[in-house]
């Protein structure tokens, strides 16, 4: 029973931790893009608790700035997945492994959830604070084409996701 409670606590902790990590990386991507464009970051709110996660840039909104958040999220997730699949086994089969496996799972969960919402937000209007909606409006591309492109990215990223998840299930599992 003690093991069960510890397992639940690990999954809840990593769930919230990933909910802090993923938007922080996303907003950092916007901030970096802002600096690359020669602007200054006017405000930076990475955590989605209480207030909305958001980054303000003095250089104004550009398609690059809008896309930078999700692109940074994808790059960070690919790096995290690579490290987890290569180095994860070194952690053994104890609590540290359970923590790392659950954190990787929730990290993937939030990144894929974010991308899936982006496919829907491609159709959203500008007053809503959605990157994909702004990107479509600024570039003038067809929202359907934007959605299909994001769905294609999800499918491509699904290959390493399924591979690493099945490898984890075959070896140490996700704890428990």
């Amino acid at each position: 029973m003690c093991q069960f409670v510890l397992f639940i606590l690990t999954w809840i902790t990593t769930f919230i931790l990933a909910l802090m990590i993923v938007p922080t990386i996303h907003e950092s991507g916007h901030a970096a893009a802002c600096v690359i464009q020669g602007g200054a970051v006017t405000h930076w709110q990475p955590l989605p608790f209480g207030t909305e996660a958001d980054t303000g840039c003095s250089a104004g909104l550009t398609p690059f700035l809008c896309a930078a958040g999700s692109l940074t999220s994808i790059a960070a997730w690919l790096h995290c997945t690579h490290v987890f699949s290569r180095q994860g086994t070194r952690l053994g089969a104890g609590r540290l492994w359970n923590f790392a496996a659950a954190l990787w799972f929730w990290w993937s969960f939030w990144v894929f959830g974010e991308l899936f919402k982006d496919t829907l937000h491609a159709y959203s209007d500008v007053p809503l604070h959605h990157d994909a909606g702004y990107f479509v409006r600024l570039t003038g591309i067809n929202p359907g084409a934007a959605s299909i492109t994001i769905l294609a990215v999800i499918v491509i990223l699904g290959v390493p996701l399924v591979r690493v998840a099945s490898q984890t299930l075959r070896t140490e599992g996700f704890g428990g």
Binding site: H30, G50, G69, G113, H130, R170
Partner: protein
């Protein structure tokens, strides 16, 4: 899929279910998570915390996974206990060889 992999799935289901349920708990306790018009994961987190479909699915995964996992654990420990207790035939064989 091996037997060992099948045993790990209820644990995974329990863990997956615990996430959205904890998000709802945070919202109930007064910590708003995400928002429909937010950036990054905020809309997805908001949907997970507020959607009844998401919460029912999470509760189903959590309860179903927990029951299966604890049942598997209980069965495993019972079988382990039975293996530890030598049966009558084992004792007779031990006497004969002595």
């Amino acid at each position: 899929m091996t037997n060992e992999t099948v045993k790990k799935l209820p644990a995974l289901a329990t863990g997956v279910g615990s996430g959205p349920l904890s998000l709802r708990l945070f919202t109930t306790l007064g910590v708003p998570v995400g928002g429909p018009a937010g950036d990054s994961v905020a809309p997805f987190a908001f949907w997970l915390a507020s959607s009844s479909i998401a919460q029912v699915c999470a509760a189903g995964l959590f309860v179903g996974g927990s029951i299966l996992w604890l049942a598997a654990d209980w069965t495993k420990s019972r079988l382990g206990q039975q293996d530890d207790v030598p049966n009558e035939r084992d004792r007779e064989e031990a006497r004969a060889s002595a």
